[in-house]
Subunit: 97 residues, 2 copies
């Protein structure tokens, strides 16, 4: 599924609640899910880990909906088959991404 289609699906499922909660409240939910992902990384339960990954991308898409960001366009604008810093693929930067 395209990133854009996933975001549209999240809009269809949750936009009414997401928009009522607002950007700050939705961001706080994203932060909570990232924390849960961190906890699940320390355990051996792969299925639980996968569910936490699902929740993080779901809340990220919800936040993008609330803030009128096209997540796919944003992702591909910055990461377009080469590193945005060194312009190489694979990345040849000395440090992080």
């Amino acid at each position: 599924m395209n990133i854009r289609e996933f975001q549209a699906m999240m809009r269809q499922l949750y936009f009414q609640k997401d928009s009522a909660r607002g950007a700050k409240g939705t961001y706080n939910c994203l932060v909570d899910e990232v924390a849960e992902l961190g906890v699940s990384l320390r355990n051996a339960d792969k299925e639980a880990l996968e569910k936490e990954f699902a929740d993080v991308i779901a809340w990220l898409a919800s936040l993008a909906n609330v803030t009128n960001v096209d997540l796919e366009a944003a992702a591909l604008e910055k990461y377009d088959h080469k590193c945005p810093k060194c312009r190489h693929a694979p990345c040849e930067c000395a440090f992080q991404h």
Copy 2:
């Protein structure tokens, strides 16, 4: 672009560095990017906001690569055109997602 294709692109660009950094280090980078996204939500710079969204999904894909999670499969296993809690579309749960 499919979620799976985006994750594969991140693997091609960054897997060598991501795997060397490991799951914990890559998770910490994700947390840093989520914090930067939170800061950018408070500003009016839409372009900067879009770049932070790009960074969060990029690091989430990197972490999925390091932990051998198929992000698209995980997302669609849980969120498949209906709310995983109430099974309705749109969601009819009383509280959060």
